[in-house]
Amino acid sequence: MSLLEIEDLTVTYGTDDVRVHAVNGVSFDVEKGVNYGLAGESGSGKSTAAEAILGLLPGNGRVDGGSVRFKGQDLLELSAEERRDVLWEEIAYIPQSAMDALDPVMTCGAQIRQAIQKHRNVTDAKARERIRELFDIVGLDPDRINEYPHEFSGGMRQRVTIAMALALEPDLIVADEPTTGLDVVVQDKIIDQILDIQERIDSSLLLITHEIGVIAETCDELSILYGGTVMEQGSVDNVLVNPTHPYTMGLKNSFPEVEQLSDDPVAIPGSPPSLGAPPTGCVFADRCPFETEECTAETPPTVDLPNRNHRSACHHTEQAAQMRRDAADPETWGVDPSDEDASATSDEEILRVDDLQKWYTTSQPLLDQLRGEDPPKVKAVDGVSFSLHHSEILGVAGESGCGKSTLGETVAMLEEPTGGDIVFDGKSVEEYKRGGMKEFRRNAQIIFQDPFDSLNPRQTVRQLVTEPLRIHGIAEDRQEEKAAETLERVGLTPAEEFLDDYPHELSGGQRQRVAIARALVLDPDFLVCDEPASMLDVSLKVNLLNLLRDLADESDIGIIYISHDLASLSQVSDRLAIMYLGRIVELGETARIVDDPKHPYTSALLSAAPEKDPTSDRERVLLDGEPPDPVDIPNGCAFAPRCPEASAECRETEPTLDEAGDDAHSAACYFPVDGTSHDTGESGSLSSTTADD
């Protein structure tokens, strides 16, 4: 008997009239002590399945069929009271958004104590002792148990929820996207923590995530969900190394990876199914390049593949090997392979940033003001210099709070710089500010992170895309034509179909394209992209990256691409700039930085990115602590407090970018990392650790 047996689980949402069929007959088993991954893009039903298992479906959700047997007992048949006894005592839960998952008006310790005392008769003192112990286990300061959630950072809050899940040593932990929204370095640490703890208490783990890489590294078995249906399941080694389902192949190919600069990720065209009715036939059929009549006519059963722990729901599994070969070719998916060599960066400079500063003043006591003391400054951007050429994509990478977004908004002149200079197209911004701002705005555009919020919901696509033309009085007689042209250029064809739509009628990927069209309609020379893909599913993300690459190559635009996601950055950028606390710590050609990082921070960032190949063995480099408060940055190298290499010199004087390397690749470090590749273990001098931190 398995610990958890899900059989033919069916869940629907909505009103009596309109029901969304979110989960359609999903079955899988989780054995004792096993890590089980549930993977899929948004809308695949993975979180709904988890909620159904835990009995946490929202009011309009309903389990329509199937069973959830835990230790042989069907959880769905328990009364509310019986279920409450099972929850946490035997099945604990690590929620998705740690930022909002803790009760804001209850101390963290009290919330854990509540979980303990709800199920066990424990005195307050005993519980307190246990909480201190738990805090210690998850790497939090036990003296902070009486603090409120808002006093902790996102990563630390997630640790609190992990401590909570651990409190009663349950047999099963369900973790729903435990690392979404966290920085890659923190994410790596949290995953490490969960694995370590789960080993310690010998529980099973059901990990729900959209990141195949995370599953590849942590799980033994997995199911891949699409449209509420299992596409493929089995042992991670089998499924991810030799996928037999076209969807798995597509998903795997669309994942950008730091390592493989040579093969462009390939996107799956089309969009996920609407699930307004229970699916007939294969849900993936309409996006599948190998689709046949059989696929739409009949739902493929999940069949066992011979001789291994591997099941697949495809009519064509016998041709898996051939499909795998075809799937690697972009043309199979209807994507034109882009000409790699067209990306000749021009020598002409479009932007030069010199010692740029953006400091924010924080409020200070009146008395200090009277004494004439300088108010404390948040140095969001502190002395950044770089240049950008036509047709070049410069990737700016860093964790949240490193100042990369402020940098983007400052070079786009949405924020006034407090120091340094920006030279755009040969003219200093000071000159633009004396009356030429409109000219600057016309030639420099910015695209923002959130496609759901970057378009005015009350304007149609036509109004959205022609507005910049109206503002600048350009092409007055042919604005509409120009808008349609630009929409088609970003892949919204035919444009007429979109012109009268409102943003809410478009999908996330389409909205982001409209946002890009809005920026491009003025034919700018320079584009800042601030995390434009961070809220998109992986296949859409790839589309967007390819689009930007084409724009840079064909339209001579210089692009600054800001992201925390090193894998996508390294796919799209010609050069990379790594930021830490308002400074660029390493700058150079993408290939050289990826292959041979000089700065210990870059090295740590690179090693934190998970890999989708379960057979590769990645060395974790776990950084100590979290970035310090940008108000009081230490003297010397800002990274020194977390750097395993730091010496007295590092703590005293700050290294500049010309400390190490050459013109094509430089790093601000006195002791650059030596070695050719960071994942061979030769980066050795860095403290490689798996557990404590």
Binding site: L54, R84, A92, A115, H150
Partner: protein
Amino acid sequence: MSQFQRFLAKRIAIAAGLTLVAVSVIFFTLRLLPGSPFTQLVASGNLSEQQVNDIMALYGLNQPLLDQYVIYLKNLVTFQFGYSIRQSRPVWEILGPKLFNTLILLVPALVTTAVLSTLLGMYAGWNRGSWLETGSIVTTTFLRSTPVFITALLVIIVFSYNLELFPAFGMREITASPSGFTDTYLSLDFAYHYILPFTVAVLYYSGDFLLLARNGIIEKKGSEFLKLHRAKGLTETEQLMRAGRNSLLPVLTYFALRLGMIFQGLILLEVVFGWPGIGRQLVTSISQQDFPVVQAAVFLMALAVIVMNLVADVMSAYFDPSVSAGGGS
């Protein structure tokens, strides 16, 4: 100075400034409007020359406007409200007991409704879509949006004139002449007169608390932290209590604001029930053009609102652990 103290200091300064502006507005409204009451009074010829001179001296009426203003401010700061023109008694002697009558009616009513309506609202929000939710919303919307004098009239018609259960007017029997506090406020006669206006006040105030609590619960109901509470095995009631605790702050803040408004009395309620409170006194004084009384009463009302506004602001900053007292970063 801590951040909270700084915030407090700023708020107090703003409140003080507001009070100054408010009393100035009252002063100039009374002096600058055409047919100013003081001149009217003096011109009416009802007073002897001696009386006129006394009044002129007390309020500095024979001095330039600016000097009058300064005298007025000085009097306010020392809480010297002067003498009633009509009753020739110190203003405070008139207003004090009336204010007390208002507070003894409205403070218990507000507390009662705050507790009951909030609980009912929380329950209604938790059971969204139930008949109880719809019913309680429609009822309290009716009670809150209908002018209070209409509710009061309807209640009087039903309970006083038709069912003849309770008296319709006043705070005691006309024949009663109680002496001392106990006799006045702890007698059966008082309770008998108290019930109807008290009930109407409770009903009138109920809507805001109910909706505030209900909306708060509905907002919290889909929240991630409640989901985690549910996953921990908390019962429905325990979850509701957590959701309630998390939506309590707006209710508390609103309670403080309402408490400030109570000093204005419920003028129309007091008029209909003949309750001798500050609101009814104000209407009487306005129609009698007894301006020292009006001036003092309006000042007290404004002050109460400003002070309770301050309390509400400080309370939100103090009790909300997730908002820094600086009002943002």
